[in-house]
Symmetry: C2
Subunit: 119 residues, 2 copies
Amino acid sequence: MPRVPTTADAFNAVAEPRRRQILDLLAARERAVGDLAALLGVTQPLVSKHLRVLREVGLVEVRDDGRRRLYRLDGRPLKPIHDWVKGYEQTWSERFDQLDVVLAELSEQEQQDGSQDRQ
Amino acid sequence: MPRVPTTADAFNAVAEPRRRQILDLLAARERAVGDLAALLGVTQPLVSKHLRVLREVGLVEVRDDGRRRLYRLDGRPLKPIHDWVKGYEQTWSERFDQLDVVLAELSEQEQQDGSQDRQ
DNA sequence: CAATCATATGCCTATATGGGCATGCGTCAA
DNA sequence: TTGACGCATGCCCATATAGGCATATGATTG
């Protein structure tokens, strides 16, 4: 079985760095396809394809403006990612706590024996 | 150019649902490969392959225990995901605010004209 | 109407994935 | 020592990408 399609959900759509760049640009303001292509320094068809993926997972919406198409962000599909990863937030802050403990122990030892042979 | 490899970063490693399941299990406690396979209802080789991906992006660590190998979670590589998606958190809460505004306006209109022809 | 602009889509390639299956390798127990 | 166990890895397949290029479709302007 092949990999989960990029259009399966926001997790997969956002795994591609270029698509995150596009979202980051759209976070500031609504933009046309050509503008995005110029800002990213890539070809227009490529941007259109990425936007198609983002549209299929609901991360962007389109609006017609003459012969241009203006895309704007819809961040709601990102919420599941936020919710999932938030459950792990304590994981890396706990590590900080552990580091604090280690540092405290080191400092304590230094005060006790004043040893210098530490890197 | 093909898709970004799953081992490129946590974004891609975690895009696969089965790998998120594995992390969710490891979040509770350290586990052996066979236990994970049994809990997920999949074959052992498949779990080993997913664990390999997770190991390559630093999301799990291994420890030898006799003829078993115990895997445990390391959530630190998830932090970039958390940081990136957190920047969009206001995106969907803003939408709630907008919805509140709309609902308030509707409610206000109803009080003013008492109209019933609303869906 | 003709020419131009903005965008979407089609075709092409190389690539590596998730899963199935068989097997190799190290560890333990009898 | 021999067997069984636990795990990793190899090979196989179908699939769908990201990107390049050419072109079709639409809207605008002259």
